[in-house]
Symmetry: C2
Subunit: 179 residues, 2 copies
């Protein structure tokens, strides 16, 4: 049991960000995060997406929504957890990823949509840049988790799936689990 | 000059996929691809996004839209290029990435939205899975390019930017280039 890793989505706008936030949540789940927090807002469609995928493909991820991002982050820190904020303005991931991996503190990774208030830059133990070019919070989270877990996350086999893929050279092969 | 790497987006639906496809294009640009093809459809908003980012942050990426995906892929192959299709049904990336990196053929990476026809599975030299769990084509492309370029893409410094980031522990620091 290493440290827990939770992903907090900041600034989700239900109209505009539904699909991007879904992708962030699916990356969180499939790349081995233990929890996903949709902060400051509720959007049941995100919860449905992640629950549906988990019931089919296995595993479980804590899903929390509607809590205050500021309070959640402060409480995480008060309990001894670490805050990591993904931002292209931060330090290059290669400079900090080993430090982050070695600390045994539980980790809260903040993934913002659009503008993130200074509060998060200040309270973060690490502001981490997955490159210093603008691209995508989905990409940033995926590359961060891949480097954090050193590629092992791509071998996860979530518990109790009803379907699983058998790798294939040219087609699609799935294994369906019956009752 | 290594091989060229182009990203082809298949199945873009302008209403539904605008933001996801923008993220795919921005990842293509910032992770060092030479070209981006929006196949079978035109969507000037994607072109505007990528051109705007390039004019500000530097570099240039070929942008092609509206060409037939089938013809483009066949022509790419006919000219001796290699086809890579990202799909969770394929072979695990770790098994094929060294082979792909070592071949000196130009590479066309197909990134689908939703269902991709069998044609692409068949014509692909490599069907590559960034894990066998459902997540995001944005994440899949980013992790693929990161492993292909072995992390070097996160140090790219595109030519002629008007703005650049200076990495920072807690805040935002940018360098603006005057005339």
């Amino acid at each position: 049991m290493g440290p827990k890793i939770y992903i907090l989505r900041y600034g989700h706008r239900p109209q505009r960000d539904k699909r991007i936030t879904s992708h962030v949540a699916l990356v969180a789940r499939s790349f081995g995060a233990h929890g996903f927090i949709l902060a400051d807002v509720k959007d049941d469609s995100i919860e449905r997406t992640i629950k549906k995928v988990s019931s089919r493909w296995g595993g479980s991820i804590d899903f929390i929504q509607g809590v205050s991002s500021y309070s959640f982050v402060k409480e995480w820190k008060r309990r001894g957890g670490e805050i990591i904020h993904l931002t292209m303005y931060g330090l290059h991931i290669d400079y900090v990823i080993d430090l982050i991996r070695r600390s045994q503190k539980d980790k809260l990774v903040i993934v913002g949509a659009e503008k993130v208030p200074r509060f998060f830059y200040r309270i973060a133990d690490f502001n981490v840049a997955v490159g210093h070019q603008p691209h995508s919070e989905v990409a940033a989270l995926a590359v961060f988790l891949d480097k954090y877990f050193m590629g092992r996350e791509l071998y996860l086999s979530p518990s109790n799936p009803t379907i699983r893929i058998a790798p294939s050279v040219k087609g699609k092969r799935v294994i369906i689990y019956g009752d």
